[in-house]
């Protein structure tokens, strides 16, 4: 088991390495070169030349890369063109917001997705199954940001039930501990803050959860159907085991394997979805940061954020691989 983990970790390193090279190259692909990009509007030929010297852009490309790598590994992504704050600081501040939203969305998707997928498989061919399949097809086709709009429109304008944007009501003076609003309220005893945070969280997390939900339902359903027809389920039945035991230990334990991989992989989509959802709901997390960076062509921020997202994704994949090996003993041999 340990050997497997180490092996996977080592395999992830080249990927991260290539990613860093790609991001490094990306910035240099910009028309006018990175100096122009970094200076933005203030670029003049002299300033560009000066910047080039400062950035060491006249040095051989390999040296530049290692300098870049060195800075990245110490967390130095430069400073935002707009605010002048170090990118790392901005990211650290925005991160908990996105974390909260993503966790909430994933939680919803799994909580409702797995049972629904299971039920669809159980009642295969009947109404529930067909309705489920159609729902998931539509769920994938609906753009996340539109769903966000729709929810926002219906629940905040037509029926003024939920707050339209942001994470907390300004009137509630909430203390910030971890940056995760719901948690902070609990930690400081300000329960009204937690409740308010939850209200704000509902709509965006539903919007964000829609695609992972649809995918989880489909994979669960397909997987359960597959496993139900397997020989070992027949053996379990022939042993006279009770239906709940067969379902739990034989069907589900095998059927949920691919589902757990999916959950991990959905993180990738979740990140993209977060960007869009955060814009609709003015969430103030990494997505908002990214979107602003795009609008303003704030390249240091963009570089940092893209590298961050990609790295997170690679690490999550790694975690998924390892947890898969814990659940399925057959994988460890590879």
């Amino acid at each position: 088991m340990l050997r497997f983990t180490v092996r996977r970790l080592l395999q992830a390193i080249p990927t991260l390495f290539v990613l860093s090279v790609l991001v490094f190259a990306w910035l240099r692909l910009l028309p006018g070169g990175p100096a122009t990009a970094l200076l933005g509007d203030k670029a003049t030929p002299e300033k560009v030349a000066a910047m080039n010297a400062v950035l060491g852009l006249d040095d051989p490309i390999v040296i530049q890369y290692f300098r870049f790598l060195g800075r990245v590994l110490t967390g130095d992504f430069g400073a935002s063109l707009i605010t002048g704050d170090p990118v790392m600081t901005e990211v650290a501040r925005a991160f908990p917001a996105t974390l909260e939203l993503s966790v909430a969305a994933m939680f919803l998707a799994v909580l409702f997705g797995i049972p629904m997928g299971y039920l669809a498989a159980r009642f295969r061919g009947r109404f529930l199954d067909n309705a489920t399949v159609v729902t998931t097809l539509v769920g994938v086709a609906v753009p996340v940001f539109f769903l966000g709009f729709l929810l926002k429109y219906v629940f905040t304008q037509e029926i003024a039930l939920l707050p339209p944007s942001g994470r907390q009501d300004v009137l509630i003076d909430a203390t910030r501990v971890t940056g995760i609003a719901t948690l902070d309220g609990l930690l400081t005893g300000e329960f009204d803050a937690t409740w308010d945070a939850i209200l704000h969280l509902i709509l965006p997390s539903i919007a964000l959860a829609s695609i992972p939900f649809a995918v989880i339902v489909r994979i669960t359903r397909a997987s359960v159907l597959d496993v139900q027809g397997e020989d070992f389920v027949r053996t379990a039945d022939s042993k006279g085991l009770t239906t709940p035991v067969v379902r739990r230990r034989h069907v589900l334990r095998n059927a949920l394997l691919p589902v757990s991989t999916t959950i991990g992989l959905q993180t990738g989509l979740l990140m993209s979805g977060a960007v869009l959802t955060e814009k609709v709901f003015a969430w103030g997390g990494l997505g908002t940061l990214l979107e602003q960076a795009i609008q303003q062509r704030d390249y240091p921020r963009l570089q940092g954020l893209i590298l961050l997202f990609a790295t997170v994704f690679v690490l999550v994949n790694l975690l998924v691989d390892i947890s898969y090996a814990i659940i399925d003993p057959r994988v460890r041999v590879r």
């Binding site: 996340v144 994979i219 394997l257 992989l265 869009l276």
Partner: protein, 306 residues
Amino acid sequence: MSILSTRKADKIDALAEGGTSLAMDALRRTFRNPVAIIGLVIVALFVILAIIAPFIAPKDPYVPYPELQNQLTPSNIPGPMPGFVLGSDQNGYDFFSRLLVGAQQTLFVGVFATLIGVAIGMVIGGLAGAFGGWVDTVLMRLTDIMLSIPSLLLAISIAALLPGSQWTVIIAVAMIGVPVFARLLRGAMMAQRSSDHVLAATALGVKRRTIVFRHMLPNSIGPVIVQATLTLATAIIDAAALSFLGLGDSDWRRAEWGLMLGKAQELLSVKPSLAFYPAIAIIIVALGFTLLGESMRESLDPKNRR
């Protein structure tokens, strides 16, 4: 691998292996499926609309109308009026006509993004599949990494490098498809390589180039068509997302659904239909392509072959 593989790469490989035979037979089987028919109908209607839209639009979609402009205020955009089926958009243009013509632009964006993705992807995948060996390994490692980056982020990275225009969106979205098609074609060709007729041709001394073009490629087309259909759906949605984020064309005169949707989001409280109609149009079209593509893929799946 597990009972059901969920990795993008594995799914693509499965499609590649499944499609290398009897594409015609599969096509016939597809159209017995009611879901496929619905998809096909939607797609057909969309294409027809895209073609005839300029002719059936009641008003000129690229020209503002004073009757509408006069009524524009920051808090009010006129709704349906005589002569203007859906009223005005935020600039005094006829909303309905723009909606109709939008089909054309949207189709354009979707088709081109997909085609470019297919073209580049097929070149990469073809090279990998034809030569094998280290060429294959290197190319596939690269595509794997591209596949592992969330698609929207990939598109954003590329779009951010380029000036804001419609072609930026098209290219960025095309890039999402490149690794998919590369892997797909390579997988199909790999499956073909060990097939009997290729082995026979090689044994007979047929030149490699002929084998690739006359034997391997035609049989690999099936999965490519299926994937292209599915990619069209996501291409339209991804293009809309990019416009929404402000990465695309800033020229609001162009009537393209994604663009219209992006521009309309700030006016949600004033006239929500400006966003709803393009969005629903996108959803229906994406759904149509998805239904069609998914049922085609199911027919090609070897497990379903009877």
